[in-house]
Symmetry: C2
Subunit: 117 residues, 2 copies
């Protein structure tokens, strides 16, 4: 079984905006098969990242919303995109995970980074 990970972020008109996501993808790529994807304003969209992982021969894909919080983009737009990806790739098990900002260890790290407590 071969697993792929999609880091899904919002996107921005500012090319520098993608820097943290690219750093994260580079770090995770040391041990995992990783693609970045964006909701809007940056390339590639989710469908292209999923197709690229399918071409790489993965059996399963974890879609990780790299968002601090869950609003309409994560709760409505992204599930629609994931549903379309499942229809396009019925033999790949595609799971949609919780936004990273909803994970307690991430919030704890943010708190530590702010206060150096």
């Amino acid at each position: 079984m071969k697993e792929g990970i999609v880091l899904f972020a919002h996107g921005s008109r500012d090319p520098e905006w993608s820097r943290p996501f690219e750093s994260l993808a580079a770090e995770l790529s040391k041990k995992h098969v990783v693609r970045l994807a964006y909701l809007e304003l940056m390339q590639p969209p989710l469908a292209d990242a999923i197709a690229s992982l399918a071409d790489a021969g993965v059996d399963s894909i974890r879609v990780v919303p790299v968002f601090l919080a869950q609003g309409g983009h994560v709760k409505q737009d992204l599930p629609r995109l994931v549903a379309a990806a499942r229809s396009a790739h019925p033999n790949i098990n595609i799971t949609l995970e919780q936004a990273i900002g909803e994970r307690p260890q991430v919030l704890a790290a943010i708190a530590r980074a702010i206060t150096a407590d």
Copy 2:
């Protein structure tokens, strides 16, 4: 010397969106004087959070952008808001910090949360 911290986030039409920021504020408030503020769609705006900290008698304020990445909101909108706050409160030392997603220890925690490596 009394310091205040403003956690500055984007805001959303979805009331649930603010949950991680409220958790973060609650955690930091155990040891610090903290206010939340939003760029748009949620209350209060930065000016109100700064005024609230001024009323609480702080001498200095750290404005922390709780954004994963730095685009137009963090690089253009927020500096303008901070400049206006400095004009309104000339006796308070107001510093604008780096977005939390640009801090290596936060990215490392996100990477660990995703992979459980």
